[in-house]
Symmetry: C2
Subunit: 220 residues, 2 copies
């Protein structure tokens, strides 16, 4: 699928079947995630992969509270999803990388010195690469935020104590489902609220953006 | 360009010409950025656009120290680049969004309560969408981290005091340049160091990933 189309069509798909994703397709999605950029080419974002029922169940049990999935029919696809990817990042590696001779002048040898914590940004770039690649390969994807269970997951994946579990992506073959955004936030904001043109030439883009953005409702 | 190819070919391009980017191409790149997902569909990532020499110069002056660009011939393309995009995010909007009735049960009504700060992750997803779209449209892109000048830029863009300037993307038509990674980090890590298979079925992907990743050297 063409890149711009994949970026535009990407949306959260929680209605997923239990049918397996073939190895080549899943490898291509993980490979895409590993291609995302990282500050100083630190490459400290890693992807943990679970495919078998037991490892998937342990991840979902860590991330959710008992009964949470059972009480939400719209989320049951996450249990069926044949693959879960955990996007993780080790912030300590960024301090180490920027302590190296070619980076030391930047003054970022400890994490407190970073005005913007680029490890989270890099994890987000990895997430988008995964989601766009999945869309291009007709694989549905939904994210599960890490609001609990991080220590359990870190141990499960055997990651360093400094590593963080940023987000989990459930992948599977999508069932048809209606396009809808977050219940209280249906529809996109007008791009005038999300774009700041800093000069007249930039201002010229706003009507074009409204047209491009208006072509889609729904979201997440 | 096909989505997986764009994700794989993306790399930092600092050698950019001064030739303008046409409106439709630049609008498509910004539109791609606005399509990235956001936690709770908060949509609080915004993109500020500078195209005219004066606004571009003010941004570069805020982000760099005097003489920094002049002393680095490999960075001079950033001055020529006909468009700069500032990816910004307002973390306060996330607390407000999760204070709404449909999200309040998550307990995330103040930023301190978020285990993972998803505003940075969302900004990173936006960044990747911009970079992949630019690659697909044969536009070169290089990022400039916000290590100084954030307050000046916030004022310049007229953003809320709670907004953060996450990263700047310089866009332009790329000159041919050798593929190289960060000077001390040429080459990618072996995917065995960046992938954690949690079961035997996941383990099966590792040789495929080594093959996919091995096809490329260089990075950033």
């Amino acid at each position: 699928m063409e890149a711009l189309a994949a970026i535009r069509r990407r949306r959260m798909r929680r209605a997923l079947t239990a049918d397996p994703i073939d190895d080549a397709t899943l490898a291509a999605i993980v490979d895409a995630g590993l291609r995302a950029p990282s500050a100083g080419f630190t490459q400290a974002v890693t992807i943990a992969i679970a495919r078998e029922p037991e490892s998937r169940a342990r991840i979902l049990a860590a991330l959710t509270t008992p009964g949470w999935l059972a009480a939400r029919p719209e989320m049951r696809g996450l249990e069926r999803a044949p693959a879960l990817l955990l996007v993780t990042v080790d912030p300590a590696a960024y301090a180490e990388r920027y302590g190296a001779p070619d980076k030391r002048a930047a003054g970022l040898w400890s994490l407190e010195r970073w005005p913007i914590p680029y490890w989270w940004v890099d994890a987000g770039a990895t997430l988008e690469a995964i989601l766009v690649a999945a869309t291009a390969l007709d694989i549905g994807a939904a994210v599960i935020g890490t609001f609990r269970g991080e220590e359990v997951l870190r141990d499960l994946a055997g990651l360093a104590q400094t590593s963080r579990i940023v987000i989990t992506v459930a992948l599977g073959h999508p069932l048809p489902e209606p396009v809808h955004g977050s219940p209280s936030r249906r529809g996109r904001l007008d791009p005038r609220d999300r774009v700041v043109p800093l000069d007249l030439q930039a201002q010229r883009l706003v009507p074009m953006l409204r047209k491009l953005q208006g072509g889609r409702s729904g979201g997440a």
